[in-house]
Symmetry: C2
Subunit: 208 residues, 2 copies
């Protein structure tokens, strides 16, 4: 199960307790954001964390290992919230869809720093990149399933859940382009708006 479970399961899925990061990962996260993956040196990470290079290599292997560890922690936290939000919904496909969209939007606000790292996955080597993408792809396939459930139930008007899930996740990912904690809207308000848009996007424009 996801790494954050022990901490998070005590909480409602709308809450985002701090993700525990080792000093190495905290320093690396800041550096990757500021300078990019290639602009960050292992030496600078070790210095920033007040650790020796051998200690760093012992724990994470190399810079790629550090990036992967951060990406994996972000995914574990993401999936923990996803599991909880679906467990909290009844069987109505619309309600399950709404909770899912809401939790993705909350991830992109509350976990912005970790979520931004996704852009750097392309610098992982083949093995770890494949491992990361396989795990992350569940965000997409789970949403496809929820869309299909709504289509089957006659609630959603959509012909291509695979494509539509991409569209929706792209829309949500756009939050990272503009969100900052000083903005006028809270994460909850932002998530509510995106959920409203997402429902519009997949439901029929009916002549009732």
């Amino acid at each position: 199960m996801a790494a954050g479970d022990a901490t998070l399961s005590q909480y409602d899925w709308h809450t985002y307790p701090d993700v525990p990061l080792t000093p190495i990962l905290t320093v690396a996260l800041n550096s990757f954001q500021e300078l990019g993956y290639h602009g960050t040196t292992v030496r600078a990470i070790a210095a920033g964390a007040n650790l020796t290079m051998p200690t760093l290599y012992y724990h994470y292997g190399n810079k790629e290992g550090i990036l992967f560890a951060l990406l994996d922690i972000a995914l574990d936290d993401f999936y923990t919230h996803i599991d909880l939000c679906l467990a909290d919904a009844d069987d109505n496909p619309l309600h399950r869809f709404e909770n899912y969209i809401t939790t993705v939007a909350l991830h992109y606000t509350h976990r912005r720093d970790l979520a931004m790292l996704h852009d750097e996955y392309r610098f992982l080597g083949d093995t770890l990149r494949e491992k990361y993408l396989t795990k992350r792809n569940l965000v997409q396939t789970k949403l496809e399933d929820l869309l299909q459930d709504g289509i089957t139930a006659g609630i959603f008007d959509d012909k291509d859940p695979h494509f539509t899930a991409r569209v929706l996740l792209g829309m949500l990912g756009g939050i990272l382009d503009w969100y900052n904690t000083n903005g006028p809207l809270t994460p909850t308000e932002i998530a509510d708006r995106y959920t409203h848009y997402a429902v519009r996007l997949v439901t029929k424009h009916t002549e009732a």
Copy 2:
């Protein structure tokens, strides 16, 4: 006016003739994509373009100048298409909105390589970053205007064009996450689908 005008104005806005790039910019674009901005050296760009370092510095100043030149060329091409697509629409706010969404979607498919560079703008220094963002922000403000026109005309059901424009542009930007030229859908088919979704997102779910 935009730099690409002389070439493009002979064409329909649905067409995307190759953007002429100097050898330096062609090499730099490939390198920025493969290695990121910080992973790219000016020396490697000069070598790849078969030019001396002084020649490169003479034309672009430094690596930042090269990145800015590419971002600026991408924007000029983008705005040329935007101008043409709006000139091609009648006064109906819905039609203008549809053309706008379509041209943004076409930009993110036909111009994927250049559009991907946007992620690197954060590495520009203050002056050039501000200059780039000011120019790029017109994509957002123009869409806000189009949304406001549709709201005023009673066609769109939306209360916050600023926010909604962000949502729509985020949705369209998501194309960069998954589009590749080997996929089953053409740029035109993709643009049609996104335009359909965008119209759904901003129009009333009416009881006609």
